[in-house]
């Protein structure tokens, strides 16, 4: 066995003491053995075992913890639900608006089961969430109310608030005209200056700048619920305005006295019949042009 081989054996701790002593006889071998011994005394810097392990685990995570993926998915779904729920709550906090177009009527059940019939071309707004605390709604147009018993039920209009406790009544609030008819129970109407109480069968009419007219009604429900508008000694302007709520028409009245008084009613279902109902008693003629244009004239 040559000395190189013996040296390698020695490096692998496979040499006996005697063989090692023999090998040391050679000065070259001895020098290399000395270097090898000294090198054994060297050491590498400290291995940051825990830090490296932490990093490895961090790096392995995405594939290691597969269950994270479905969790993420669930979180996403939950987020969507949260947004929907939030929007719902937010939406609930907003006012509920009900609009009717010309010739359109609708019925609304309020949160307390009170019923509202909303006439054509009208606007009603209330807050669904606050309804428990305050039964208040705002009306621009005409509506009939069947109020469930409970706390004060208030209809706000431009000209005044109508307050009731549990009754059936009609409120007409268009432009500068307010008409309230009470069909059952008691209704209180608060105007700027006074508070008027209406009992079943009472009605009132108020035009901006004019005095309140006390009227009576013999009806059990407003006529418009039967698709009719009725007037008692009303100026023609009012009648024609009303007509425009039920028929999508443009009225042209060149040589007609709009202060003419009209007593009677017209239907909401047929324009011709309605026009006849208005024109015949007042000695007027009418002609329907295209594009829903209606021209009224004094009869010859």
């Amino acid at each position: 066995m040559n000395k190189q081989e013996l040296l390698h054996k020695w490096m692998n701790d496979e040499l006996t003491g005697a063989e090692e002593s023999a090998l040391r006889e050679d000065p070259e071998m001895r020098a290399m053995m000395e270097i090898a011994v000294q090198t054994r005394g060297m050491e590498a810097p400290e291995f940051p075992k825990d830090a490296v392990w932490k990093n490895i685990q961090q790096l392995n995570k995405p594939t290691k913890v597969r269950t994270l993926q479905p969790l993420k998915f669930i979180v996403r779904i939950a987020a969507v639900f949260a947004i929907v729920a939030f929007s719902y709550v937010f939406w609930q906090g907003l006012d509920t608006d009900v609009n009717t177009a010309i010739a359109e009527k609708t019925e609304i059940i309020l949160p307390d089961q009170s019923e509202v019939a909303l006439n054509a071309n009208s606007f009603l707004t209330y807050n669904q969430q606050d309804w428990k605390d305050a039964r208040t709604l705002r009306l621009d147009g005409e509506a009939y109310f069947k109020v469930a018993k409970g706390s004060a039920f208030v209809v706000e209009t431009d000209l005044g608030d109508v307050t009731v406790l549990g009754t059936q009544f009609n409120v007409f609030a268009r432009e500068n005209l307010l008409k309230v008819s009470c069909f059952e129970g008691v209704v209180s109407v608060s105007l700027d200056q006074e508070v008027i109480t209406l009992r079943a069968g009472d009605a009132l009419e108020l035009e901006t700048g004019k005095t309140v007219k006390n009227l009576t009604t013999s009806l059990s429900a407003p006529r418009w619920l039967q698709d009719e508008s009725s007037f008692n000694n009303a100026p023609l302007t009012q009648v024609l305005n009303e007509l425009e709520h039920y028929y999508n028409i443009q009225l042209e009245v060149s040589d007609i006295d709009l202060e003419k008084r009209f007593t009677g009613s017209f239907t909401h279902q047929d324009l011709d019949i309605a026009l006849q109902s208005i024109c015949n008693p007042l000695q007027m003629t009418y002609s329907v042009l295209d594009k829903n244009k209606v021209v009224l004239n004094e009869a010859e």
């Binding site: 692998n12 590498a44 810097p45 291995f47 392990w53 990093n55 594939t63 290691k64």
Partner: protein, 176 residues
């Protein structure tokens, strides 16, 4: 208590096995990486990369092959990425602690020798140094080194012989 079949090879994909591999080979692999690149941070990166690759390929690497897989990956990554730096090793004297050897002169001489030896190690090729230090510092037999470097035992012998000749030449005249 579950009866274990000793014939069953541990599965590298099992966390317990994976952890055990790190405990068993982490230190030596890090040293190996350090002998090559001479930078502790790079060595840590190499070890991390090797273990992460082992985890990603755990189903393809058998437990028996895991060790050589780690060394091969580390070596490849080193060749690909890491800039070579000087290896800095701590030197602690291997001399028996006789009273006469503790004189200031002797200690100074030891320190000088350590520096010189370290410098000489850095003149070796990366292949020579790695094989030599794996044997000297980590106390690995040639056979084990050959497995880890994926070379023959003869090649290990050659590298270590070359290392010793080169070191002797560099340290000549340093009377130790």
């Amino acid at each position: 208590m579950a009866i274990k079949n000793s014939q069953d090879e541990p599965n590298v994909c099992e966390e317990r096995t994976y952890n055990a591999l790190y405990s068993a080979h982490g230190q030596a692999l890090w040293n190996f990486a350090y002998y090559k690149c001479g930078n502790a941070d790079d060595a840590s990166d190499l070890v991390q990369e090797a273990f992460v690759k082992l985890w990603n390929n755990c189903s393809k690497v058998s437990f028996a092959k895991a060790r050589s897989f780690l060394y091969t990956v580390t070596n490849n990554s080193f060749l690909n990425a890491v800039a070579h730096q000087k290896v800095v090793l701590n030197y602690r004297s291997m001399q028996s602690s006789g009273v006469d050897k503790q004189s200031p002169e002797f200690l100074l001489e030891e320190k000088e020798y350590g520096k010189k030896l370290n410098a000489a190690l850095n003149t070796l090729t990366e292949a020579q140094r790695t094989a030599f230090l794996m044997n000297r510092i980590d106390g690995k037999k040639y056979k084990q080194i050959a497995e880890e470097l994926d070379i023959s035992v003869k090649a290990v012998e050659k590298r270590i012989s070359q290392a010793l000749v080169s070191l002797k030449k560099n340290l000549d005249g340093f009377n130790k």
